[in-house]
């Protein structure tokens, strides 16, 4: 009972609280980094250097009036933010933050669970998030959200094809769908998959930006054309759930990319004894550092690149990324056959 329910439950709550904290400070970090990029100061009023800004924001969103527009579909209007939020949170169940460690003399794994279809679980759960967006636009019964949700869902599903095809080539190299298994495969292969699958990494980065509706693919929220995007009619806590979901998804994308391509919780050069001094930094810290670098990259991109036009965005997804993903898959398969055949001949 303790092993089956209590410990997982504890881990889930810790991950949930950590995610929510990380999400709120992501917002502050984003505002700060963009401000510095543009030679501004960013939030400075609430606490020293705006350090308490996320708390103020959270409080404000909680006590704001929550409006359901008169023409909206009441139930679906409430269901949509929940449907957007839940998938973003439950993906963390399979993300390996670290290997097994001893806590109070009892072995504890630094991941909530390890299922043998982990990557498939990540792909399918994140797809469910699209429903939240479609339903939000439909239930609002207002023109801007409707248009924005159509655009957003078309964008999400277009890039999902390319991303999923790319993930297949990673699975091909690792030979397993378990995320812990993929990290351990990188340890055994003596190489991060960033170097074994550079094309796949580039595709996942581009696809990840598009899947999280981030600049330069933040089409669904193009303020100049669509006011607030699919959550124009939302206010108060229901708006906050969409907001949390968006940033939680960013963290999901960086964690998955870290796990698949940057060796997850492994330290740099995990097989070289000479770098053993790096073990001072615990494994979960390496994971967080790598994910953080990725998140910083997201913000950096947003501060640097202008937005794509919608037809350019669809063309990039369907006519550039998908052919590259298929070609990468085919080349990976051929190379894999040659490699395994050579190892077999030697043995």
């Amino acid at each position: 009972m303790v092993d089956a329910v209590v410990i997982p439950l504890l881990k889930i709550v810790i991950v949930l609280v950590a995610t929510l904290t990380a999400v709120s400070y992501m917002v502050l970090l984003e505002r700060k980094v963009i401000a510095w990029t543009q030679a501004r100061l960013g939030p400075m009023r609430v606490g020293p250097h705006g350090i308490l800004q996320p708390i103020a924001d959270a409080l404000k969103l909680m006590i704001k009036e929550d409006i359901t527009p008169a023409r909206a579909d009441r139930w679906v209007f409430t269901l949509a933010p929940i449907l957007a939020m839940v998938p973003a949170l439950i993906v963390y169940a399979v993300i390996p933050f670290g290997p097994a460690v001893e806590v109070f003399g009892r072995p504890v794994t630094l991941y909530i669970t390890d299922i043998n279809v982990g990557l498939l679980y990540v792909v399918s759960v994140t797809s469910v998030g699209v429903y939240g967006i479609i339903l939000a636009g439909y239930a609002s019964n207002s023109k801007y959200p409707m248009l924005a949700s159509l655009r957003a869902s078309a964008q999400l599903i277009s890039y999902e094809v390319a991303v999923t095809l790319t993930l297949v080539s990673v699975v091909l190299v690792a030979g397993t769908l378990s995320l812990v298994g993929i990290v351990e495969a990188q340890r055994e292969a003596h190489v991060w998959y960033l170097f074994a699958q550079p094309v796949a990494f580039a595709l996942i980065v581009i696809g990840g930006l598009a899947e999280t509706n981030r600049a330069p693919f933040d089409m669904p929220e193009a303020e100049q054309e669509l006011t607030g995007g699919f959550h124009t009619e939302y206010s108060g806590m229901r708006f906050a759930l969409f907001f949390l979901a968006e940033y939680a998804n960013m963290i999901v994308v960086s964690s998955v990319a870290t796990t698949l391509f940057l060796g997850g919780y492994l330290r740099p050069f995990p097989n070289v004894a000479a770098f053993g001094v790096l073990d001072i930094v615990p494994s979960w810290m390496w994971f967080l550092l790598k994910s953080f670098a990725f998140l910083y990259f997201f913000i950096w991109i947003r501060a640097t690149l202008p937005r794509y036009r919608y037809d350019q965005l669809m063309r990039l997804g369907w006519k550039v990324l998908i052919p590259i993903a298929i070609a990468n898959l085919v080349v990976t398969a051929i190379v894999r056959v040659l490699l395994v055949a050579r190892v077999g001949a030697d043995g």
Binding site: I12, I82, L89, I90, V168, T176, L177, R238
Partner: protein, 118 residues
């Protein structure tokens, strides 16, 4: 050894619980000063004249159908990729036939202009 799926069920429960609980809790504290104008759908200050659920571009349907085809095909590739090292040349040729058909369909859709967004 408990099933590895128990924690997933638990995290779904916790996530749904969190979302529902915050919505219910904030219901208790947020102000309610509604009026007719405030509850109108937002249209940059102009009164909404018609229902928003209007007809929209056929392109979206097309994208949805293409997505269905490609995504289902991709799901078939996952098990193949997992056991690839045991199949090797056999698996390679089998999958090349499969991907070949996919590419033919993709080429057809491209030629028909299904991938254009005008």
């Amino acid at each position: 050894m408990p099933s590895p799926y128990v924690p997933i069920v638990l995290s779904i429960l916790v996530a749904v619980g969190f979302a529902v609980a915050t919505l219910l809790l904030t219901r208790l504290i947020h102000p309610r000063k509604y009026n007719q104008v405030k509850l109108e759908p937002y249209e940059c200050g102009i009164e909404a004249t018609s229902d928003a659920r209007d007809r929209y571009s056929i392109r979206y349907y097309l994208v949805a159908m293409l997505f269905l085809i490609f995504d289902v095909e991709t799901v078939f590739m996952f098990p193949w990729a997992v056991v690839f090292d045991q199949l090797l040349l056999f698996g390679l040729i089998e999958m090349f036939v499969f991907i070949g058909i996919l590419v033919v369909g993709y080429y057809y859709a491209w030629q028909k202009g299904a991938l254009e967004w005008v």
